[in-house]
Symmetry: C2
Subunit: 606 residues, 2 copies
Amino acid sequence: MKIALRGGAVTGMVVISLSLLGVGILFFLFGGLQDPQHVPYQLVGFGFGASLVALFAQLGGGIYTKAADVGADLVGKVEAGIPEDDPRNPAVIADLVGDNVGDCAGRGADIFESTAAENVGAMILGTALYPVFGIKGILFPLIVHAINLVASFIGVLVVHSREDQDPMDALNRGYYVTTLLALAGFAGAVYYMLQGRWWLLACGVIGMLTSFLFVRITEYYTETRYRPVQSIANASLTGPATNIISGLAVGMETPAMPVIVISAALLLSYYFGVRGLADSSITDYAKGIYGTAIATMGMLSSAAYILAMDTFGPITDNAGGIIEMSNQPDSVREKTDKLDAAGNTTKALTKGYAIGSAALAAFLLFSAYLETVHGIVAQRFADAHQILPGDWSFTNINLASVPVFVGALLGAMLIFLFSSFAIKAVGRTAQYIIEDVRAQFRENPGIMAGTSKPDYGRCVRIVTGAALKQMVLPGALAVLTPLVVGLVFKNLSGSFHIHIPGEYSPVLNGHSIDLAGAEAVAALLMVGTIVGILMAMLMNNSGGAWDNAKKYIETGAHGGKRSEAHKAAVVGDTVGDPFKDTAGPSLHVLIKLLATVTLVLAPLFL
Amino acid sequence: MKIALRGGAVTGMVVISLSLLGVGILFFLFGGLQDPQHVPYQLVGFGFGASLVALFAQLGGGIYTKAADVGADLVGKVEAGIPEDDPRNPAVIADLVGDNVGDCAGRGADIFESTAAENVGAMILGTALYPVFGIKGILFPLIVHAINLVASFIGVLVVHSREDQDPMDALNRGYYVTTLLALAGFAGAVYYMLQGRWWLLACGVIGMLTSFLFVRITEYYTETRYRPVQSIANASLTGPATNIISGLAVGMETPAMPVIVISAALLLSYYFGVRGLADSSITDYAKGIYGTAIATMGMLSSAAYILAMDTFGPITDNAGGIIEMSNQPDSVREKTDKLDAAGNTTKALTKGYAIGSAALAAFLLFSAYLETVHGIVAQRFADAHQILPGDWSFTNINLASVPVFVGALLGAMLIFLFSSFAIKAVGRTAQYIIEDVRAQFRENPGIMAGTSKPDYGRCVRIVTGAALKQMVLPGALAVLTPLVVGLVFKNLSGSFHIHIPGEYSPVLNGHSIDLAGAEAVAALLMVGTIVGILMAMLMNNSGGAWDNAKKYIETGAHGGKRSEAHKAAVVGDTVGDPFKDTAGPSLHVLIKLLATVTLVLAPLFL
């Protein structure tokens, strides 16, 4: 248990440290100490790079793992009639490789990106507070994360578990220790760096509470003992159709509570931000947004520990598999089974955590986008030696204006289309595996007879190539849609814009700057984020609930294994697989990629 | 064929005429001729009433029809082992009644509401054009719809079909005649009432084109001969799980093209509106929005004919059933089968049409909401004998402000939750039926033996009561969410509002009016509408595609009836049923209900 968690902790620590070091080193290399107000904008490229890699890791990994899983099962169990994970199946190694590619690497890249994006976003907002805190406000997020790393490290060290204990209790104890230490560190950082403004510490506490509530809500929707999973298991009694219907109904219900929590967290941290900075001269909006940024930091404060818990899952899973293959005594098996069940829970919880932090980070990046557009316009005026009116700010994304409404419509559509592409990519890649396995069986009849070994490597190569190829279309969709929308709407302000009396576009060289492109992209980003969060919750939680409904029936309920109810539950589980392991987690990354891609491309939209 | 269509036409004509008469008579009774600028606002109640009734008709009807269908099938076919529609099943009459309640009454209420909402919305916008057109601009929508009724009537009359012809060809011919006549009538109305501003006629043409494209796109996604249905049928070969996955992937893909069409239609009609009214003194925004209102009228111009086509479906369906029961010769059967297939297609097409018109009508109602809020503020100033600054307008729904963002988040969440409730209501109501049928079998063993008749009436009563009860929760959700959001955010402007330099809230009696509630509700409405449109498309089209994939396999493809592929396709069809007949169409109505409820409640949010 300790070994598994510490194995996971290595990943967690390394990922967060690298993300932190990357941002920190770039900040100093770019001369952040001399010019702290402009360098954060240049770090956006780092966040964008992280997003792009994360999309490839998560989407490609997700396609890989599920395609290998589905393909191996269909061609092995259904066509050839050999059991799951039978060494005669040429796709079995690809299936095992997929578990690591998708679950560990994918989630690591996801959290790496969340941290990087949040650091960069918070630093950009920190520049707005430069008059108040100086460079300390900009470096605050980096320092807080360094403290959190230490807190998580200690949290991992305190996890001890006795034989007779539920491993979840031990893991939860570590989580509480981490959170308390992070809170103490946060308070210290606020005291020394932010002039002891305790309202800002309250923002951080809100973030921590949000992360706690998200984890608990996910637990409610995906754990066997609560109503949602029970209702799916009951519905399995009347066949696969009712199982699917009730799973989808549960999935559609899941966003409700998290949305209310996020809404409350945003409103409160905004309000506390305004209170905490009441005496400074910046606008209320900048104060409030800085408050939400600190809440995001609070939410991410236990990221390293959560990631250690997440990676803990696959490690115990593989340990269980090895113990089974090597014929260890049953008592050993029981222990790893308990750990395995805890691993399944932590995997679901981290997804809930990841989507919550993605939601907060996205709102932060959205604000950073508005700041960036403002910065670009200011730069143009500076270049032309003209003066930007000091009271102008780019904060007007008006849903009643047609380009903004159309941008919003396209943002929502993008999420649906991306999900569709991601799900279809799994199906297509699985098809390649099925064809290859069939070909191997045909070419070498010794495989089925057990006399010769199948070519595992060929399957791995094929699924790798296919996953990479199938990833191109959804990836391109994510990057190109904001680009196309921004460029198409670039010159539409003239007749499409709502003239708000008093509101104006700044006039440069006699022409007012056209903001329709930048505004349409902002709406695309924001509504895309909203819909993406809800869709990801629907997919992650319905997938998890289907999976556990199946497991619940396997424990003997409703007739147990080999009953009709179990068959129906297996159908639900299979539908849930691409939901929770490909499309859902890819949406987390898509949300952040949309935010960073618009940040990087912003100059093109003006 | 003629009889079926004319039977449908009666519904179509009566529904549209009543809607038109209702709005028209109320307008005159309220003294519209004396005070044309204020009376349209008072008609909002009519639209709200229509929405509420439509929600009950559509949602209650949808729950009724699907619960009776699912319940009767499960308890009859699965438990008792008697064939579908066997008279020994006590729920069989409830099932047949449900077909009429859900399909005919529901859709009729839907279109009634679209027409009523669009009329009221367009008249409210017309008041903004009062300086340009006088009362003619306000009455224009009523006159255009009256002309359209005549056009649809003639369209229905020209439908003749010979024995050897595809009935769809004849129906399409009627559709083209209706559209051409409506176009001519539109041109006449523009000439006499809108000073012959031909750019405005172009807006109407865009609406007609949009309706045409929506129908064609729906056809692509739900007809057997195209890729989407084929891909679902292929996926059925590998079992129910892959059938469900590919059906959901198709469903998520479906919004893409309609969204692009709607976006283009909005942008073009807005632009044409601005061009058409270039010489008048009102703001560009009012001009553009009036353009989109005229496009909506264009889209709804063939509503009566489309509704006739829609009601045609159930009529031919029942005719086929009666012919089968009464042992007519096969040649008669073949004719009605052809008509029945055409009926299925028209049912899917009208749903595509209904969602398209709901989307345009919602944008219109959103603009009407902004106008109404402006009117309320103006009234308060008038009551206090103060002067509202003439340049102030309520058009600023800024996504970067926290209350607006939270409102948007809650709007999207509402759609997901409503869909979940609607789907679950079907399951619960089906449960009541199953219990009653079991009880009847127990109480009276003569039913199964065929010696005594079951109590059909008891089943009908139970499902009616249950459907009405299950409807309460989603219905309350739709009405209460905007109310709660508006009231909660009513007094938050203080610290939460973004201060846009130059933008201001008007000051009354020394206090600036707090707009946060009205703005949050506007965002809820708008993002709820966007997500609702996409969700409804997903559900309608995936449901239709699953249904037709099953029908395609039943024609003999992939092994035909009784093959494994057919069993898998039946699972998909069952999942699709509550999608396409309960949740999807209820979302059309929900969108419009949200719009009218916010219009009616607007005074409470200020």
